[in-house]
């Protein structure tokens, strides 16, 4: 019995140790990747055309899905708030709840989730396929740095596009919440905006956009890193993509939890 307990505990500890080692190794490799991206950018190895192509893909291509997600987030927040506030709290407070909820939380996080699913997974699968089909080796052999050609344009595009997407999601989410409040609980636009202004801090918008910038850096960084370390053929690409999506979602949610104590207190 004691032996079984010791074996179970040592097995759990070994698994924790392996996971910690793997996380530390990935973190180290990503730090090296960031340093190489900075060097490639600073030495002018990154083609503007590649950055613009990725901006189209990450930014413009994500607009419809981000708009739909943001609108639905605003509508749901407004309806749920209306249901809870009716007959208990002045309804104009709904304007503040929707605005703060969308700008501080739902806008950046929902946009990040959309970009992870639409762009992050694609980047890992694309670079992973290039890795297993020797296209990355081909870049090396042609004297091209894969970090300059593949990683840097995607990370730069992510950092530029995400804050803009978050800004757009905030606007659409609040507007959809305003319209939903009118139909769900009969709250007029004037009252909604009065409530929104009552508890408004300009800092909230900067906070939201900063979140977008950080998520826009982390999502392509993780997805590129996972793509580069892909091995093992088609199955390996599938494994890397799944692993990248899980890692990106957890990373975004952990960062989201770290933001308030750092910036809102």
């Amino acid at each position: 019995m004691t032996e079984l307990l010791v074996n179970t505990v040592s097995s759990v500890l070994a698994r924790i140790g392996r996971t910690a080692e793997s996380v530390a190794r990935d973190a180290g490799q990503m730090a090296i990747l960031v340093a190489r991206v900075v060097r490639a950018t600073a030495t002018g190895q990154v083609a503007l055309r590649d950055v613009l192509t990725q901006l189209m893909s990450v930014g413009v291509g994500s607009i419809p899905l981000v708009a739909v997600t943001a609108a639905l987030s605003g509508i749901v927040t407004s309806q749920q708030g209306g249901y809870q506030f009716t007959n208990s709290i002045p309804l104009y407070v709904l304007g503040s709840v929707v605005t703060a909820g969308v700008i501080l939380e739902l806008g950046p996080v929902m946009t990040a989730i959309v970009v992870i699913g639409r762009v992050g997974a694609r980047i890992t699968a694309e670079i992973g396929t290039m890795k297993v089909s020797e296209q990355i080796d081909a870049l090396h052999s042609l004297g091209r740095d894969p970090v300059a050609v593949l990683a840097a344009p995607r990370i730069i595009a992510g950092m530029l596009a995400m804050p803009l997407l978050v800004g757009l999601a905030n606007f659409i989410g609040v507007f959809a919440g305003l319209v939903a409040a009118r139909f769900a609980v009969g709250l007029g636009a004037d009252s909604f905006l009065y409530g929104a202004r009552l508890f408004w801090h300009s800092w909230d918008l900067l906070y939201s956009i900063t979140k977008g910038f950080v998520f826009g850096f982390v999502i392509p960084l993780v997805s590129v890193h996972m793509g580069f370390k892909t091995g093992g053929g088609a199955e390996g690409v599938g494994r890397a993509t799944t692993s990248a999506v899980v890692t990106m979602i957890i990373t975004v949610l952990v960062l989201d939890a770290i933001f308030p104590p750092l910036f809102l207190n």
Partner: protein
């Protein structure tokens, strides 16, 4: 001149266990051997795609592994590499793929007539009609055409050394013969130093000045094709005979298919 000096490489198990070999300028050397003996691994150590655990590779006296960044870039510009499955960039057209073989500066001037001429010349060198393939995606090409585009990309910058990794894998006998002819033509025209990794002993004997047999991570035989044919070494004989037997069996099967 390319020198491999006591090259060792292991992944989970030892793959190369002390390979030493010199390839003279302008020479064509084929490395043959059973699958999994490290032929492609040895080729990839030539331009630094893989780093040996021990030993060194020198090109014209410069160590590939101790070279500065700029020196390594210069070495890689000297070396063209033809990958086993072509490794064409899927998202690019044939023109853009071949352009990637040019220097950064030339690739940035991709729309100039001078660059277009170089790309077209290179495609013509591998017997492809630029008008037909220039704007196609790799997915629109046959296996043989993809191989040729891979060769065109490798030779567009007129390298001094060409490395071929299994150039006829996956090709039918007609396309295999065409690729072998192409390797000879390129060599005749450009006097390039070539290393060909292949499992096809007939191709190796046909196109090479020397043949090297790699077994169990070591070189078992290095010499002229005639010496390979005449070798009394039982391992060399076993490899050549097994290959001959396999080819004979394949011919029988093909003949049987024809009869049906």
């Amino acid at each position: 001149m390319i020198e491999y000096i006591d090259v060792h490489k292991a992944f989970d198990v030892p793959v190369l266990t002390g390979v030493s070999l010199s390839v003279e300028t302008g020479e064509t050397l084929s490395i043959v051997g059973p699958s999994g003996t490290g032929k492609s691994v040895l080729l990839k150590t030539t331009n630094g795609l893989l780093v040996p655990d021990r030993g060194d590779v020198r090109i014209d006296g410069v160590s590939v592994y101790h070279a500065e960044r700029e020196q390594l870039a210069a070495i890689r510009r000297k070396v063209g590499y033809v990958f086993q499955y072509s490794a064409l960039f899927d998202s690019m057209t044939v023109f853009e793929n071949v352009c990637m073989g040019l220097s950064d500066g030339e690739a940035r001037r991709a729309r100039t007539p001078e660059v277009l001429r170089k790309v077209c010349d290179s495609l013509e060198d591998v017997n492809l009609d630029p008008a037909l393939v220039l704007h196609k995606q790799p997915s629109e090409l046959s296996g043989g055409m993809r191989k040729r585009v891979g060769v065109a990309r490798a030779i567009v910058a007129r390298p001094e050394i060409l490395l071929y990794d299994e150039p006829v894998t996956g090709l039918d006998p007609i396309n295999s013969a065409a690729i072998s002819r192409l390797i000879l033509e390129i060599r005749e025209r450009t006097h390039v130093t070539s290393i060909v990794v292949t499992h096809d002993i007939e191709q190796a004997l046909e196109i090479s000045d020397r043949v090297a047999l790699l077994t169990h991570g070591k070189l078992r035989f290095v010499g002229k094709p005639e010496a390979f044919r005449a070798s009394s070494d039982p391992v060399v004989r076993a490899f050549a005979d097994r290959q001959a037997a396999a080819e004979a069996a394949l011919q029988l099967v093909e003949r049987g298919d024809d009869d049906n």
